[in-house]
């Protein structure tokens, strides 16, 4: 695979500089094909690293959600009269109240033990994400209402449950310190041995801030996911 093809993996903002750096690195190895091949392997890992780094950063889902909310907003304005959109807010608030009653039945709602870290940023990020998720759902609902006669309320409720579930699960799998996505999930223990040890999944922060212990099934000894700071 040549370097120009690999460059498509790199986020667009850094692509040109990345390509220039790798062209320079490979330029003087033209007469050393093996060294060139070894170096090119690094180009692939470097490109993947930059892509993952960007996708795992807290800004990535916020950008995607903001785009989604903006598109849904434009569709809502196009589909319904813009003046009617705020009028649907009380009905949507009622739907969300019902969704909040349904949600605990679909997933464990424990808040997790993050006593080792300051979680103000984490909470701010979560509320910003929720706002964008609900805004996108609201506009989508407003856009669908004029065209769909029956079942929009039920469909919106299901969509809102799914969206809130996603927001909560996505939040759990983020480092509470840097808000980057946690990586390298590792299964620990066996569910049938819960009397002797815990069983669950461990996620690690790639920046080394800590480890998340997440139980497979909550037990009396291990009810909720727990964050451990990594001590050097």
């Amino acid at each position: 695979m040549n370097i120009e093809t690999l460059a498509y993996i790199v986020p667009r903002a850094r692509r040109e500089e990345w390509l220039a750096e790798w062209r320079a690195e490979l330029a003087f190895l033209a007469d050393r094909p093996e060294a060139r091949r070894a170096l090119a392997k690094g180009a692939l890992r470097d490109a993947v690293h930059l892509r993952v780094e960007q996708d795992f950063a807290p800004g990535a889902p916020m950008r995607q959600l903001a785009t989604l909310a903006a598109i849904a907003g434009l569709c809502a304005v196009a589909a319904a009269n813009a003046q009617h959109i705020p009028g649907k807010a009380p009905a949507f608030a009622f739907l969300i109240a019902v969704v909040l009653l349904i949600l605990p039945a679909t997933m464990p709602m424990s808040r997790g033990d993050y006593s080792a870290v300051d979680t103000r940023n984490r909470r701010a990020f979560f509320f910003a994400k929720l706002t964008l998720v609900l805004t996108a759902c609201y506009f989508t609902w407003c856009a669908a209402l004029p065209h769909v006669k029956h079942g929009t309320a039920h469909a919106t409720m299901i969509a809102c449950v799914a969206a809130l579930r996603w927001a909560i699960i996505e939040q759990r799998h983020r480092c509470p310190v840097c808000l980057h996505k946690l990586q390298q999930p590792v299964r620990v223990g066996q569910p049938s041995y819960t009397l002797l040890g815990w069983s669950g999944t461990e996620w690690i922060c790639a920046k080394g801030h800590g480890v998340l212990h997440e139980p497979i099934a909550p037990t009396t000894s291990f009810m909720r996911h727990t964050w451990s700071r990594l001590l050097y």
Binding site: E17, A20, E21, R23, A24, E25, A27, F28, L29, A38, L39, A40, K41, G42, A43, L44, R45, D46, H49, L50, E53, K207, G208, Y232
Partner: protein
């Protein structure tokens, strides 16, 4: 990034001792390219090193594209001193 991994510390030390671009760091450390370049990105993101493009005139004189040179920042030197205490073997690398 106040606590460096051993590989990152080796790379930082190599840059500090004069190897300034990716391939020269690879040759000096013996680390594979797949380790060196992502580590350089992390060190740069943590402001322990900074990158600067070589002047076009110098590259033209040597008939090659300009290279991206890395230098250790003040924060990088502090981190390197801490890494030397943490990894006594770093002195012999």
């Amino acid at each position: 990034m106040s606590k460096l991994s051993f590989a990152a510390a080796v790379i930082l030390k190599t840059i500090d001792s004069g190897a300034a671009y990716g391939f020269s760091i690879m040759e000096a450390t013996g680390l594979p390219s797949g380790t060196v370049y992502p580590a350089l990105r992390r060190l740069e993101a943590a402001a322990l090193i900074k990158a600067q493009w070589e002047k076009q005139s110098i590259a033209d004189k040597e008939q090659r594209p300009p290279r991206r040179y890395y230098t250790v920042t003040r924060a990088g030197r502090t981190a390197l001193d801490a890494a030397r205490e943490r990894y006594p073997l770093l002195v012999s690398v």
